[in-house]
Symmetry: C2
Subunit: 201 residues, 2 copies
DNA sequence: GTCTATAAATCGATAGAC
DNA sequence: GTCTATCGATTTATAGAC
């Protein structure tokens, strides 16, 4: 076992901080979680946090980048394998139930956005990330409709905005009212597909 | 001019506090606005706030109740007068541009919900209000489709959930990225109406 | 690079005078 | 019912030791 270089060690504590911050932010929320708590739970002191992240929202952005990537990969995997359109919708429905139902993600994203939207150094980066994830979802839609031989009734980017926005809205409401079903999201996708079939004939 | 009774005076300062709190919460956000600031701007001291509202989130709920009612009325009025279906969609589009575009409302609603969702005395009331506003929107949809002689492709409550969720999601994203157009919301409504026509024939 | 100790500032909420 | 004064608790961020 080789000794860790300074860079490797630095990267490792950074990783560990992001990991435990993810868990805490998702479980308890961004505002309510102090950096003290993050540091302690990760096995460090607050000083270590500040030697890795200039501010709390810098850590917040890093956490969200990681969580967002995880969920995007998870979604892509969920719908990739399935067979025909109906099977893929079922796969999406199951994913939505676990992930839009996993209220923490959307809620964290939204709590962070609404709490930091006034900070001039954060705002443009939120916008960048929004466009990024919209493009990712649009690409996924393009890929899926190509595989299924369908032409959507609208540009894939518009479909992505619709699905993402609906998902965000649902996630927020489910954060305080878990009774609300994710069905609407699946319904929207299904209605898109129905209209796509008609077009492609 | 009669002297104000104790009750009237109390109601008046309560009104004034809600008014200025609305303005401040909408402009700057809920968390960032201190009760000190609300009190001063309304021409009172912090003690007056606490003699009218037990806690800050109690004031927050009162503010949201007022804002929500205002917007619901404004929406109902906007679509009430118009003529055929297309004219009503245009009216809705204009309303959405000004109100979903008026980022403050959605953002405040969402910031408050994500920030207070853990408080046991707030959470159930958020859920109550969600169901309430969903019912209001559903009623509006019922009324509209009856006037237009249309049968929607889904229960009006499902349509309400879809439109509300999409509106919330859009509003949140527009809070930090105003470039995002409200078009998707209008598109969704239009697609509902298109399918409604087909059903009613 | 990390830790300890502390600064600095804020804010929600309360107590008591009027 | 409102005002003044203050408590009490918290948190981000920094300074200096190791």
């Amino acid at each position: 076992m080789a000794r860790l270089s300074r860079k490797e060690s630095h990267a490792l504590t950074r990783e560990r901080l992001i990991s435990t911050a993810s868990a805490l932010f998702l479980a308890d929320g961004y505002n309510v979680t102090s950096l003290e708590r993050v540091a302690t739970e990760a096995g460090f002191s607050k000083g270590a946090v500040y030697s890795n992240f200039a501010t709390k929202h810098e850590l917040g952005l890093a956490v969200l980048d990681r969580v967002r990537l995880e969920r995007a990969v998870s979604l892509a995997e969920a719908v990739a394998d399935a067979g025909d359109a109906e099977a893929r919708i079922e796969a999406f429905a199951a994913w939505a139930e676990d992930n839009i139902g996993d209220v923490g993600w959307t809620t964290l994203e939204v709590e962070f956005a609404t709490s930091t939207r006034h900070l001039p150094e954060v705002r443009p980066r939120l916008a960048d990330r929004r466009r990024e994830i919209t493009q990712i979802v649009a690409s996924l839609i393009d890929q899926q409709s190509e595989e299924l031989g369908l032409a959507l009734p609208m540009p894939s980017e518009d479909a992505a905005v619709q699905l993402l926005s609906l998902g965000i809205g649902l996630g927020v409401q489910r954060a305080f009212d878990p009774e609300l079903p994710v069905r609407s999201l699946v319904d929207l996708l299904r209605s898109m597909l129905d209209r796509a079939r008609a077009v492609s004939r």
